[in-house]
């Protein structure tokens, strides 16, 4: 998903744009929408930081910073005591250890969709349910189905077959979440996890997943009010810092040529 946060002294507007592979084309639209809501013209924005998987494809950004650094900063602004971040987005998942708002170690998985939120999107699609419903459905299950395939595509087939066998939907969904929780927890355990643990990214909106992950780790994980936005908030904070530092030196920050145009896709 594409998210834009505009910040002055505090957050002036934030927009979460539609998901899907078309994100890059939509970045400018989301930006325009955010400017609209804040009632600001684009040229009044002193600095733009792009982050996330598609950060290189933002033609109107002044600087690209990885989501690892941005998430760390964003989360720290909400949870000063946070030590570990687990971020599960649509393209990857990662674990970040932080100290004073800065990442000190991280692991990530971005090769296989089965370890990302994309896995849930595909299964939801196959099962004909909304991604937003998955969490609640799973929480109703007492008897999660065992999903034996790891691969998204194989698991997709497996849930179809299991559904035909008459296994209740909620148990299937719970099984799917458990399978993702397993994979993510195995990965983040490669860091020596310290508490407090914060879950971010779109998947943190899934209450069933929050539960499944807490169960796997053996202690609760916290979720920020808008888990989708932490990365963007972090990017804004880092952008502000850069702009301020430049100001202290009485310079204007190094900026790129920006273009708020649509990228042609398809």
């Amino acid at each position: 998903m594409t998210k834009v946060v505009i910040m002055g002294e505090e957050i002036m507007s934030s927009v979460i744009g539609p998901t899907g592979p078309e994100q890059r084309r939509l970045a400018n639209n989301v930006m325009k929408e955010a400017l609209n809501r804040a009632g600001l013209p684009f040229k009044s924005i002193s600095y733009v930081v792009a982050t996330g998987y598609g950060r290189i494809n933002v033609p109107f950004a002044d600087k690209q910073i990885t989501e690892i650094t941005c998430h760390a900063r964003g989360v720290a602004s909400f949870f000063p005591d946070a030590r570990t971040i687990i971020d599960i987005g649509g393209q990857d998942s990662k674990g970040i250890k932080i100290n004073n708002g800065r990442p000190i170690d991280f692991v990530m998985n971005d090769k296989c969709a089965a370890g990302s939120g994309r896995f849930l999107e595909i299964i939801a699609d196959t099962l004909g349910i909304k991604i937003e419903e998955m969490g609640e459905l799973a929480l109703q299950s007492k008897n999660p189905a065992v999903i034996s395939n790891i691969c998204t595509i194989f698991a997709e087939q497996e849930v179809v077959d299991k559904l035909a066998e008459g296994i209740p939907l909620k148990n299937l969904v719970a099984g799917i979440l458990e399978s993702l929780a397993n994979r993510v927890s195995r990965m983040v355990k490669r860091l020596k996890i310290e508490r407090e643990v914060i879950l971010t990214g779109g998947v943190a909106k899934n209450a069933g997943m929050v539960q499944a992950l807490s169960d796997k780790l053996g202690y609760p994980v916290s979720v920020p009010p808008e888990p989708l936005l932490t990365g963007a908030v972090g990017a804004t904070l880092l952008g502000k810092e850069i702009a301020q530092k430049a100001k202290e030196r009485d310079e204007s920050p190094e900026r790129k040529e920006r273009s708020l145009k649509e990228i042609e896709i398809l």
């Binding site: 034996s148 395939n149 790891i150 195995r186 355990k189 490669r190 860091l191 020596k192």
Partner: protein, 464 residues
């Protein structure tokens, strides 16, 4: 290791001897815990490192770390230790025995006590660790050094055990003297280390006795396993994966000898009664390489259910009786051990030289195919152990190139049927020794089904 099947589906063994292994393993795990309490010295050890008899003669109790990992695997309780190792920075692509062991040890050291619900009471903290540097296996060279990071006070002794690879222009006899000399030196170094650790001197008469006992046991095992040539075969590889326990973990003890006496008797009786692993033996297969998936030994039963049996395997096996292994006239037990090592690893060199395109590893397969009337070969490619699993595919390919034992008729150019020979069919299974996340029962059984269909179609086309 295999006996943990009880917890899951109980695996059916063909022999009583194999069924008796469970308590035996349990006993020597708890035995090491007891010994430690009683103040006896315990050492971390690997199989196939030549020091079995030396340890026995010095009353040092070996803790077979591969065995413990195997047990965790068979109990399907290795995952948490594997994950712990990963959290230390060790890749899942490394030997999962080692990962399981290091993960367990680190956890025990961190807690100062056994990790919760440790399988069979857990793996004891050792007084010393005996690694070995050999062509055979890097983890044997690196594992204990890695564990030492979490118990720096426990000394490691690494014993170098080389053997020559097969070359065109160098015969093993050209290099034998300096190989054996080095091995002898290394063994003497080990003895000196052990003497220092225990504060007692080696009793060489006793060592001679244990080496003697070891050699007698070796021969007995060879003889006993050879009984499996019988048709129908009285014991399969599934059982051999149990009876490997006294072979690999108890050499140099009377118990091991007695165990194989019992097995020998049992097999002879079965052979006399023509009692096979399965009632209607259709296909005789060679387990041609690879360690099994310890959590899925019941796959052997699945083979059996299709009329397929495994009279032989190259895994955990004495290649030949000691009589066939070159041994100079010496009474020095250390020298005997060194010669045994050398003789074992070059055993097939001479045979390989006689067959164009052959190689010792391939020659070994051919020998067993002929001795045991084999119809097909199964290998297991365990993804985390390079040691036993690299080169298997090549062995199959090379074998197929130089050895075609099945007579068939083909349609020749002129339309007439001609007799030719074709290769043995083979199956490669892919999974791991203890990492259950690599295994799929459906997939595995599907492959076995297809392989059985292959054997069927080959049997049909065979001309007698």
């Amino acid at each position: 290791m295999a006996e943990e099947k009880k917890k899951h589906k109980k695996r059916r063994t063909a022999t009583e001897a194999a069924a008796s292994i469970g308590p035996m393993v349990k006993e020597f795990i708890s035995g090491t815990l007891r010994a430690k309490e009683e103040g006896r010295k315990v050492a971390f050890t690997f199989i196939v490192c030549l020091y079995d008899e030396i340890l026995r003669a010095m009353d040092i109790l070996p803790v077979w770390t591969e065995n413990f990992a195997g047990i965790c695997g068979a109990k399907r309780d290795a995952e948490r230790f594997l994950e712990r190792s990963e959290s230390l920075g060790l890749s899942r692509s490394l030997c999962t025995y080692a990962l399981c062991g290091i993960g367990f040890d680190q956890w025990r050291e961190e807690l100062g006590e056994m990790p919760p619900d440790a399988p069979w009471g857990g793996q004891v903290r050792p007084d010393m660790m005996l690694s070995s540097g050999q062509i055979l296996c890097d983890p044997r060279n690196k594992w204990y050094q890695a564990s030492q990071l979490y118990m720096p006070d426990v000394p490691v002794y690494n014993i170098d055990l080389p053997y020559p690879l097969y070359e065109d222009d160098v015969e093993f006899t050209d290099v034998r003297d300096y190989y054996v000399k080095h091995i002898i030196e290394e063994l003497r170094g080990l003895v000196a280390f052990l003497e220092k650790q225990t504060g007692t001197k080696m009793d060489y008469d006793r060592l001679s006795e244990t080496v003697d006992l070891g050699e007698r046991t070796w021969n007995l095992i060879w003889e006993t396993y050879d009984l499996r040539r019988a048709v129908p075969t009285p014991m399969g590889t599934g059982d051999a994966m149990n009876t490997m326990v006294p072979m690999c973990f108890m050499m140099g003890t009377q118990e091991a000898y007695d165990f194989f006496l019992g097995l020998n008797k049992e097999l002879k009786e079965k052979v006399a009664r023509k009692e096979g692993v399965v009632e209607d033996e259709k296909y005789r297969l060679l387990w041609g390489g690879g360690l099994p998936s310890w959590f899925a030994l019941s796959d052997f039963n699945y083979f059996n259910s299709k009329g397929a049996v495994f009279p032989a395997e190259t895994t955990y096996r004495m290649i030949e009786s000691m009589y066939q292994i070159y041994m100079p006239d010496t009474n020095d037990p250390i020298e005997r051990l060194a010669w045994r090592w050398f003789g074992y690893w070059v055993f097939w060199h001479n045979k390989a030289r006689k067959r164009p395109g052959s190689h010792p590893d391939v020659e070994w397969l051919i020998q067993y195919i002929e001795d045991y009337k084999i119809d097909g070969i199964v290998m297991h490619e365990a993804f985390s152990c390079r040691t036993w699993h690299l080169g298997l595919i090549w062995q199959l390919n090379q074998l197929a190139k130089i050895y075609k034992p099945i007579p068939v008729l083909v349609l020749g150019k002129d339309g007439k049927k001609e007799k030719t020979n074709r290769e043995l069919p083979s199956l490669v299974l892919e999974s791991d020794i203890i990492d259950i996340t690599t295994y799929s029962e459906v997939d595995t059984r599907n492959r076995i089904d297809a392989f059985i269909e292959t054997l069927e179609s080959v049997a049909k086309s065979k001309v007698h």
